[in-house]
Symmetry: C4
Subunit: 264 residues, 4 copies
């Protein structure tokens, strides 16, 4: 095994690398609304994905997280894998506690993760992100950008709104940007979310879209339940806000801040 | 001797390394209330611990500290050792002027310190920290987290409150987190303190708990005296605050801010 | 090909390096008013300059930029080259999305760019910058500083105002400063601009001056059109400001903040 | 010549290193009131000191400084040397445009400078700093700290007030702190200054003290003239402040802020 980049430490599960057939890499980094991370964590659970490697980085926040059983662990990213039963489709699933705290380390971690995926001949990478609008909506839209025009062209068929400007900051952007330079395809899907709550509804929307692209099916029951919880939370907030607005200015009936449209 | 990590310079006492029998490493980094550092400094003094090594780091604040005799020294961490007379228990005792000023260097220093302990086959590491509550209490509680569930299980017998969430930031967290990845056990003990004063009372509490775990006894007279000084200082502050409150609102007789519960 | 500096990745166009006869290196980094970048981008377009190399740097902002066709790319600097038809003058033309986010990386990138230019025996480097004054002027002046007194002496003939103090920060300064240490000549030309708008008029002025120095001619039509747009934008702003001033204090008819004179 | 530390580039004058007999290293870094730098620049001028080496550092501010003749140079530190005629005393004199912008680089530069001095068997290092009090005084005091008690002991004879606490931040502290670890003696002399003006009077005081220690004499005329200018500037400021105070509250006749006592 080659040594990792400075400040990055990859610890593989014992027993050697599994054989995977050019798996998709699907990344759910922690970010606004936990949209991406929640979707990937759901996939890991429902697919009974197996542990591949932990990735430690000295630019993660310098702390241990305490679990409910009282034990403490360094912050890390973790890659799981799934051969997905009889089908031909295998997946690498990345989830994590944190993104690195400075630009140089974000680039290094993106390259390190792609090195790991390259061991299995990954040819396409997905990052799942949040599209922050500052408003609550009935049905969250899915936005997308990609490394190649033929991927972008396919967005229309899948009800993905193609972004045509701006930027994707952090690991969700860097992973697909660095992938492109290696000749690996990359797609960033962004679930519309207010940015005010942990948004399982946006998470479910983005996962539905992803699964239809990669051709994998999983039980969505648990995530749907959490999406319903999100919906109720949003309704409660909207009612409270409407109430407060009503007290302040009786003529106003809606409380929709204008679209902020930034990405996280 | 292997070269140290970049930016870290370890200078051992001349005369070769001592023979130590799998010593505990006990760390008292400077932090809120000087709870941990004061406890370890007391141990060093009472055990007549011997100097092992100075650790310099280019991420310590770029300055010299001026001593009362007019001489100046770079900031450093220092490890002492104690064979503790006839007993079988030996200790590595770390005290210091500072923690590094950025996350990457905190991780590096944690690994460097563990490398030093590994030369002596240390199998368990303790870090002594402060649990900041923002209130003055009669009897400071001791909180704890550890690398392994069997350590956590033993907390109850020793009147240690097990933490079940949150994080431990800085060297106190990283040392046990990095230890865990090497298969070395780690415990972080946190003494409850207001965060407003240098708190020798919390320091004494945490040292009592530590000594009962490692099975070492030391004369506590000096630290008890300092703990009494802390107690008087707190009483003075409380009386002044009560006086000021009385002037402001006659009905109020206590001045206890709510529990802030953060760690340092 | 020698490996690049840490954090910098240079990817050359396939097909080997072109043969260039000691080309001038002309740098248009993004900065205030896009004065330099717009001038170099115009040169690249009008000279049909060819792609030489992309330069990636882990201290560029950690993000991908989304293009109008929906595809995303890492931030980068790019060097083009032009042999300029039958004449003897060849050019290296640097344009980019960003400057590095910290001083150390700015120095490293400056050295890397000069290494690339050195492959072609470049003996003189130009950086095109903005001279921010905070005021709108009819005819933007050109300011200059250089590595050698004989270059400075020639400024008078070309209507360039010689700077006699202050500093040039960022890549525009470092490139000529680092060039000087290698025995390569360097000139920084600065176009006067308000700093309030993307200023194609300052861009055209600086390009006129540059072209007269290097002895290259290009069609200026497109940039002249953009300069006219800038002029109209400025007139609109001035009229609005005059209007607002008129409402506030009827006796005031101009709104010229005093010269701020800083460089970017 | 060994390669320099990462980010540091030392360029020696051509013609080989001079032969110097264990010279004192005297450092005048830029800082508050330019107290140290002005003193060393005066020494360099009056001793007709010769250029030894320029030191460039990628953590100096990323900019070029423009000189009055219109030429631009990277920021640097420079070491000059003086054999001082017939006497046995030789000097290394360090002056500079800047100190590095981050702690790690400050440590690295301190070590690099000491490496250069070590080539000539320097056994003692002086740093000249400012002791900021926030008040104007008739006769600035000289404060001192050192690496060894025997140096501190000698302070009394030379009218140097020994510091007995606090810290010296930046290069002035690190140079003597790092020297101590190499077995090289170090003294930091600090000239009392208000911190409000470029203070040639404090500069002259500290230089008088330094010269009496190292046993070198130089013509002080130019620095005395500048010290008189400082005195007049201070008197003007004091009169203006007294005038303003008189308008505000007629009973007040002095305007002395309390001693701030920090070091720079």
């Amino acid at each position: 095994m080659l040594p990792s980049r400075p400040g990055i430490n990859v610890i593989y599960s014992s027993g050697g690398l599994p054989e995977l057939n050019s798996p998709y890499l699907i990344c759910g980094f922690p970010g606004s609304g936990y949209v991406g991370k929640m979707a990937v964590d759901h996939l890991i659970e429902e697919l009974h994905a197996k542990h591949l490697a932990d990735i430690y980085c000295t630019s993660f926040p310098p702390q241990v997280l305490i679990r409910s059983d009282g034990t403490a662990d360094l912050m890390k990213n973790t890659i799981f894998y799934s051969k997905n039963g009889g089908s031909n489709i295998s997946l690498l699933l990345l989830t994590g506690d944190s993104q690195p705290g400075n630009p140089d380390s974000e680039y290094l971690l993106a390259e390190e993760i792609l090195d790991i995926a390259a061991k299995f001949n990954t040819s396409h990478v997905f990052t799942l992100a949040a599209y922050i609008t500052g408003v609550f909506v009935e049905k969250p839209r899915i936005f997308g950008t990609a490394t190649d025009t033929d991927i972008v062209t396919s967005f229309g068929d899948r009800n993905i709104s193609t972004m045509d400007g701006g930027s994707i900051t952090g690991m969700n952007g860097l992973i697909i940007g660095c992938a492109k330079l290696r000749g690996i395809g990359g797609t960033c899907l962004l679930g519309e979310t207010s940015g005010y709550v942990v948004d399982a509804r946006a998470s479910k929307s983005i996962l539905d879209t992803l699964l239809s692209i990669v051709g994998v099916r999983v039980d969505m029951k648990n995530l749907e339940q959490r999406a319903k919880d999100t919906e109720m939370l949003i309704q409660t907030i909207e009612q409270q806000m409407a109430g407060r607005m009503g007290q302040q200015q009786q003529s106003s009936t809606t409380n929709r801040p204008s679209d902020m449209g930034y990405i996280s």
